[in-house]
Amino acid sequence: MNIIETSGLAKRYGSSWALRECTLAIPAGHVAALVGPNGAGKTTLLNLAVGLAEPSAGGVTVLGGLPPGSPAALDGIAFVAQDTPLYKNLSAADMLHLTRNLNRRFDQRYAAARLGELGIPLKRKAGKLSGGQQAQLALTVALARRPRLLVLDEPVAMLDPVARHDFMGTVLAAAADDGVSVLLSSHVLAELERVADYLILLSRGRVQVAGEVEDLLASHRTLTGPAAEAGLFAGRPVVHVRRGEVQAHLLVRATADDPVPPGFQAHPVDLEELVMAYLREPGAAALPGPGRGRALPLEDGEPSEVTR
């Protein structure tokens, strides 16, 4: 089952396209990270998935074929929007009670126990809680609905590192223990590797990279070698070149078994490097399916980025 499936999905606000020709399918059972620069269309895609927005073109289904916003989809998806909106004048206990009344299922015991564990006083108004506590309250309320899919829009952008770590801990526990699928958008790359096992990279309203993190890491390598010989790679699937005075670092699509050119050394990449490389090369793409991946042709003498 795919938790979200889109084909040719597009959304226009006024005259500008927030999302274009977006085709993807995210299988269930993952913590999927939606990354991309500001304005890439992350929030738009999430709003379409939770039924807050309607497509201008193309289609989107959730939870294995349900239309977003339909009763069954609303029932199965919990959404925590950007800046974790809560009713600031309601106490934490009232937020729980409110959410309980707005849904068919609500696990009051889980929610109360979770807030107790986090040290969030039930009587305190949501607006008086710290930013980290507000985010945790919003997440607790969402998880107590026992959703099949948890959608989080920039959940940790406003949080300090400790609060961010704790928040993601809660998300991961829910994913591991209850099998909740998670789709979260973020431009904080630092924690992604710990959290996400599926990656979608959006750029300028289009899907640039999509796939399981493990596969993506296995199919990319960094090659380090003399800058003068970087030209040897013309025609090879190079994603990004970082060229210094002496040495060039090339992020290429290659597995550990692929031969390394003489004079070069191959290193595995981490997720942050991989994402950064693609972010810097909006023309490159790595998409599932035969022949979908394409890398930039490397033109000699046109360094993509020069480090001095």
Partner: protein, 336 residues
Amino acid sequence: MTTLTVPARPKHDGGPRPVPWRRMAWVSWRQHRAALAGVAAFLGAFAVYLWLTGLQMHHAEAAYCHPAGSLGCAINFTGRYGETAIIVSIALQAVPALIGAFTGAPVLARELESGTFRFAWTQGIGRLRWTVGKLVPLAVAVTAAAGAFTVLFAWYNQPWAGAGYVTPFSPRVFDLLGVAFAAWTLAAFAIGVLAGMLIRRAVPAIAATLAAYAGLAFATGLWLRQHYITPLVTRSPNPPGSASVISGWYTKGGRFAFGDHGNGIASTVRRLCGGPCHGTRLSLAQLLAQHGYTHWTSYQPGSRFWPFQWIEGGWLLALSALLIAATVWLVRHRAA
């Protein structure tokens, strides 16, 4: 950090039965009880004032105004309370607008302004039930409060109406009596929620509601209300006391000559007297009658008070239902 386990979901949830309507009752109450308490306090303060002054008025009327028109009545009743009653009835005209604007406009505007609509509209209950479950009970509550208040005002107004000092069609009291007051309050609420949905900010939505309400109320009082039922026309110089006169005019030879208020009447009189009419002792009506002019008056008889109330209540109810339906439609179709 330790983490709690989320208990396993039951395997078969069945089809998604909708969340029951009554669950919204708690939500609406919890989120809007402060606004409803404000309405209760506002109307309650007004009611206490009406009750206290009304008692004094009733006593004065009972003690001095039988027969009505006596000197004692003029001193101790009309002279003493007349001005107060006029000011009260004028002040009450604003009450439906205030209730509607302050309870109606923020309902959706606050959600949109603070971003909490992203929370509310993604819950299992769905946007339709959420909106209807909020708006309808609130609308019923403010309408019922206004309706109860009308009963008190009718009692307050009774000494004046009984003695014929104020006719039921008087624009000062017509929309405070019968079903009109509650209907206007409902209309103000409906205008408020739609304005909140369209403007998306509470304070500008409140201002827009007050402006729209004022326009509608003035237009109704000035132009619309008198046409609910075709007026009666009489040649009698004095239509029945409880009637509401709409206009008067003269005819000659079966043709319209001129209205009571206009240039035609002055120039005709000057022509008939052959000058400024200083010599004549005839009244204007007698003079014109002598020259073959007939005076007509169109009016609404006082017996039409309740039909008029139902007509006004009816169209305001229909308008409110339409505005609330439009708001629900907008909520369902609004994209984030």
